[in-house]
Amino acid sequence: MKLLIVEDELALKESLIEYLSASGYLCESATDFNEAVEKIELFDYDCIVLDIMLPGGSGLQILQYLKDNKKTDGVIIVSAKNALEDKINGIALGADDYLTKPFHLSELSVRIAAIIRRKQFNGQSVLQYDFFSIDTIAKSVKVNNRLLDLTQKEYQLLLFFIINKNRVLSKNAIAQHLWGDDMDYADNYDFLYTHIKNLRKKIIAVGGDDCIKSMYREGYKMMLS
């Protein structure tokens, strides 16, 4: 899987490359408009992580370029602008998703995975991760061929863990993934613990490993091979 990361903030670009490379993606990067256009002309990417405000031009122009040249690269916009119309403009110009800075790397990773899944869907919707097999269309999960009975939130949670397997995910990042940006009950993560506890129980009940490790209740990690 090949990604192009278009981001002019070097420190951020570095983190992105490091995190996404460790997730098994082949990452290339561009720091300004011209470099980005050059790379897009030469290569096809599975997904482009695109900053809107770039030296030398706007990310929206790159979207326009992709559209004009009938390129099918997936695009996720990462922008400091949460501006309502920027979001709409971006989606209208063919971006697949939009993420507002500051985002969690784990969240970006899940979104990229979703975009690639949509783009490369070749009649096969079942993903295999260790002992989990996930049907992303039916939104069902099987462990050792036994169906895992999950609520919608639990399914979302499991997918988030699996995509970010072997990573420490902060409770904050998990809560935000599940309940969105206005989740701000910092002193009360009980409902999150409950969800994770239930998920672990269900996995064990169908014969899976207890693969979700708590890190001092501040973060969690799913250990998969």
């Binding site: 903030e9 420190a11 951020l12 983190s15 992105l16 490091e18 995190y19 460790a22 405000m53 990462v78 400091a80 602008k81 949460n82 501006a83 309502l84 119309e85 507002t100 800075k101 500051p102 985002f103 969690h104 790397l105 784990s106 939130k153 990573r167 420490v168 995910l169 902060s170 409770k171 904050n172 990042a173 935000q176 309940w179 969105g180 940006d181 206005d182 989740m183 701000d184 009950y185 910092a186 002193d187 009360n188 009980d190 409902f191 969800h195 890190m215 001092y216 501040e218 973060g219």
Partner: protein, 419 residues
């Protein structure tokens, strides 16, 4: 009092005063001239009689008229000088007393003295005088009336540009994307006013735009470093053998980032709502949306053991989809955040209003301040203090009336869709 009414009051007083003074003066002058003319007539009569006596040494035959007559009587006394006399005589024919001017003098005919009185009625003179006064008063009245009519109609038209400008200024909001463009006027004063207002709003508008751009840019510029910090803390978490202490510290940083970021987003959103001309013509299924949002936040309600009582009708109204989502999100988040544990939340929606009611820990919130930015009833609260300001602002833009009430230990937020 209007400026013109003030001016008019002075103007009319002076005009009436002048006319009265002028009329009085006119009366006396006219009276003087006419009396002199009368005396002149009497004198020429006297000369004619004296002349006749000198030539013929006898008294003339005199033809008396109704208005002028001569009486002659023998006299012993001799008048040194002719004498004028002003008397009133009762006129038998016209049955009224009329003023008469007399000239008395003596002539000597054949050694005998005769006292001759020439009488002339002043009635004609009086009539003339009266007529002239009447005409003058009529003129004054006419002038005043014309003045009044002209003022009422013309003045209103003359001031029209002034009122137009004032109305434009009243309707002007800084949030409008344009500065005030008042037209050029023919009247110098109004032109000066318009030009000055144009120049003033132009410069205010520019400063305001610059300030807005600054706010927006500043908020944006801060998001990128925040993104760097967040990505670095996430990378830190991935290190082998992170201690519990380090983990807690990192979470502290993470929460700080979260708050700062949300604060920026809210501020940006507020500026955005104020500065963008949203059109509220999308059909938004508010009932469905509300239920969906309540469902999304189910766990959050449950985690605080809140009882949610709903009475929601599936209404659709012209609104803006995203703003509707933000509005409902903010209202619900606010409710979850401030309702005490085991409290009750009541949500009602019909085609006229949306009511969100929740049990309170404290007394009423400050009705004046509750929708202000950064208002927090207690300083240590978690929220940004912008949520309700955003609700109010969206309501304002959409033409809704957003109200807060405290009743029976309940905080009640009501949005009336039609005002």
């Amino acid at each position: 009092m209007k400026l013109f009414a003030k001016y008019n009051r002075i103007n009319i007083t002076v005009t009436i005063f002048t006319f009265v003074l002028g009329s009085v003066a006119f009366y006396f002058v006219l009276n003087y001239v006419l009396t002199r003319q009368l005396k002149e007539t009497l004198r020429s009569e006297q000369f004619e009689i004296i002349h006749y006596v000198e030539q013929h040494n006898s008294l003339p035959e005199i033809q008396n008229t109704r208005h002028q007559w001569v009486t002659i009587e023998k006299s012993t006394a001799v008048l040194a000088k002719p004498r004028f006399n002003d008397i009133n005589i009762y006129n038998e024919k016209e049955k009224e007393t009329e003023p008469v001017e007399q000239l008395l003098f003596t002539v000597k005919v054949s050694g005998e003295y005769f006292l001759i009185t020439v009488n002339k009625s002043k009635a004609e003179t009086e009539d003339l005088l009266q007529l002239i006064i009447l005409v003058t008063i009529g003129m004054i009245a006419l002038i005043l009336l014309l003045n009044f009519l002209i003022n009422r109609n013309v003045i209103h038209r003359l001031w029209q540009p002034f009122y137009l400008s004032i109305n434009r200024v009243k309707e002007y909001h800084l949030n409008n994307r344009q500065s005030l463009h008042l037209p050029k006027e023919n009247t110098d004063e109004f032109n000066l006013l318009n030009e000055s207002l144009n120049a003033m709003t132009q410069s205010i508008h520019q400063d305001y735009q610059a300030l807005k751009a600054f706010t927006e840019n500043a908020s944006h510029e801060m998001q990128t470093p925040l993104a760097v910090i967040r990505s670095k803390t996430e990378m830190l978490l991935q290190q082998q053998n992170v201690s519990e202490e380090a983990m807690k510290q990192i979470m502290g940083i993470e929460e700080g980032i979260q708050k700062l970021s949300r604060l920026h987003q809210s501020l940006l959103l507020l500026t955005k709502i104020e500065n963008t001309h949203f059109t509220f013509d999308e059909k938004v299924a508010l009932g469905t949306l509300l239920l969906q949002k309540i469902e999304e936040k189910k766990e959050l309600f449950e985690s605080k053991h809140l009882t949610v009582i709903q009475d929601i009708q599936f209404i659709t109204l012209p609104f803006h989809q995203q703003l509707a989502e933000i509005l409902i999100n903010n209202l619900l988040s606010n409710t979850i955040r401030y309702t005490p544990e085991n409290g009750v939340v009541n949500i009602e929606l019909d085609k006229e209003k949306l009511i969100v009611r929740n049990t309170a820990t404290e007394n009423s919130l400050d009705v004046e301040k509750i929708f202000q930015r950064f208002y927090k009833a207690q300083q240590n609260q978690e929220g940004t203090g912008l949520g309700l300001a955003i609700v109010k602002e969206i309501g304002k833009m959409a033409g809704f009336d957003v109200q807060y009430l405290f009743h029976n230990n309940y905080h009640i937020f009501t949005i009336y869709f039609k005002q």
